[in-house]
């Protein structure tokens, strides 16, 4: 249990090693996290998402620097895609966060999004808990806002910031269901470019359709020039204060925990199938049978579920 004690004392090598071990589903690390779970939950978790090239890493870098002025310890988890063909990845978010590398109050960790049986959201969620116990008061999770697994990652936060940029598409993009709906705060980055006001207006119009209690603010920022960062962080803090009123915060955390639990159950069932030679073979056989119309997918799935229950 040496690793556990070192983590509790804020040892960064222990934190780093535990994150790797949890990524690799190491049983020793899983045991440690069972023991330490009750010590987590103190950090405020901020998700940053948006399309590729929106400036999420640069924006995260500036937000972290802003938070650091208060002296609070910060963790950053940056998720980049993994090649589905080789399992390899180039994780490049650190390029925009170079200055943070020498700040002892900041811990930045890059993660590849796929190649994890059981989903990346489980690995990032473990990393959040580890950095939380390590002593981070704020944790930023940054990822590209495409695909369900990435949406799941940021959904698992206390405040989600949706980053947009001008010139990506017409207003119909903004009203498409899905990713845009998860933003608690919107940032229009590269706001010195043509069309920024229009982008902000389109987001506002989309928000007009929503009747939720919380009206997400839309903030203009130019992350590279550190413009609008203070205002954006103030909006995040506003959302935080709003969530703290009448138990909304715990309701959201319970909702996140519910998603996490169901994801874990799902991935455990899949693992039980694929880590068992005979059952894994049956999966392949049924897949072929479904393809050749020998059996329908509903029946096949039911058979597989029965085999692990």
């Amino acid at each position: 249990m040496e690793l556990a004690e070192r983590l509790l004392m804020g040892d960064r090598r222990a934190a780093a090693r535990l994150i790797s071990m949890m990524e690799n589903k190491d049983p020793e690390a899983q045991e440690i996290m069972r023991q330490l779970y009750s010590q987590s939950g103190k950090a405020y978790v901020i998700g940053i998402t948006g399309p590729p090239g929106a400036g999420k890493s640069t924006l995260t870098d500036k937000l972290v620097k802003h938070v650091r002025k208060t002296g609070a310890k910060v963790g950053v988890i940056a998720v980049d895609p993994t090649s589905p063909f080789t399992g390899g990845a180039i994780l490049g978010d650190r390029v925009r966060m170079s200055d943070l590398a020498t700040d002892p109050g900041v811990f930045v960790r890059s993660m590849g999004a796929r190649g994890h049986l059981g989903g990346i959201s489980e690995a990032t969620s473990a990393a959040v808990k580890i950095l939380d116990i390590y002593g981070a008061e704020y944790i930023f999770i940054e990822t590209v806002g495409v695909g369900q697994s990435e949406v799941d990652i940021v959904k698992n936060s206390d405040t989600t910031v949706m980053v947009s940029v001008p010139g990506l598409g017409d207003d119909i993009q903004a009203i498409k269901a899905g990713v845009m709906e998860i933003g608690d705060v919107f940032a229009v980055n590269k706001a010195d470019r043509d069309g920024a006001n229009r982008t902000a207006r389109e987001i506002e119009m989309m928000l007009d359709f929503s009747h939720a209690d919380w009206r997400p603010p839309v903030k203009m920022v130019v992350a590279v020039d550190s413009k609008g960062i203070e205002e954006l962080f103030a909006a995040i803090e506003d959302h935080r204060h709003y969530m703290m009123e009448d138990g909304k915060f715990m309701l959201r955390r319970a909702e996140n925990a519910r998603n996490e639990l169901l994801e874990m159950v799902k991935s455990r069932i899949v693992e039980q199938l694929l880590n068992h030679d005979v059952k894994a073979e049956r999966v392949e056989q049924l897949a072929m049978d479904v393809a050749t119309r020998v059996v329908d997918p509903l029946t096949a799935a039911e058979e597989l579920i029965q085999s692990v229950l």
Binding site: R12, R13, A16, R17, I19, S20, E23, N24, D26, T82, S83, T86, G87, G88, A89, I90, L91, G92, R94, V95, R96, S98, A101, T102, F107, V108, R109, S110, G112, G115
Partner: protein
């Protein structure tokens, strides 16, 4: 345990040419490794801190500026100080043959000079990581 090898690819010093580093990063990625790329003009402190936070198996530095004799041993020293001397340190770039023994005495496992096939680097990393 089946896990991807994690490699930090970094550019210490002041030269602004990272084509070589990017070619290596891409080759390692295609070999199934997780490559953390730090970008240009990194100090040995930045590289060491990144290596520790990212819990990498290998630090690969690319350097073309001629400052390899000071910067690379410095990275090895900082890694040692942090107790991270189980991280494999390799170097590439424009490094004269006569400088290589000195680097190897100072914590560098291997030096890959221009023209080295990427497969050689990949195999070396696979065979020499320490955990």
């Amino acid at each position: 345990m089946d896990r991807p090898i994690r490699v930090l690819v970094s550019k210490p010093g002041l030269d602004g040419h990272d084509r070589g580093a990017k070619v290596i990063a891409r080759a390692l990625r295609d070999a199934g490794m997780e490559v953390i790329y730090t970008g240009l003009r990194q100090t040995p402190e930045q590289i060491t801190n990144a290596a520790i936070q990212e819990d990498v198996d290998c630090v690969a530095v690319s350097i073309l500026s001629g400052a390899h004799g000071t910067l690379i041993p410095k990275i090895a020293e900082l890694l040692r100080k942090e107790g991270a001397d189980d991280v494999l340190l390799v170097a590439g770039g424009v490094i004269p043959q006569e400088d290589i023994p000195f680097l190897k005495e100072h914590g560098v496992a291997e030096v890959f000079t221009p023209g080295t096939p990427t497969d050689v680097t990949i195999q070396f990393i696979r065979n020499n990581i320490k955990r």
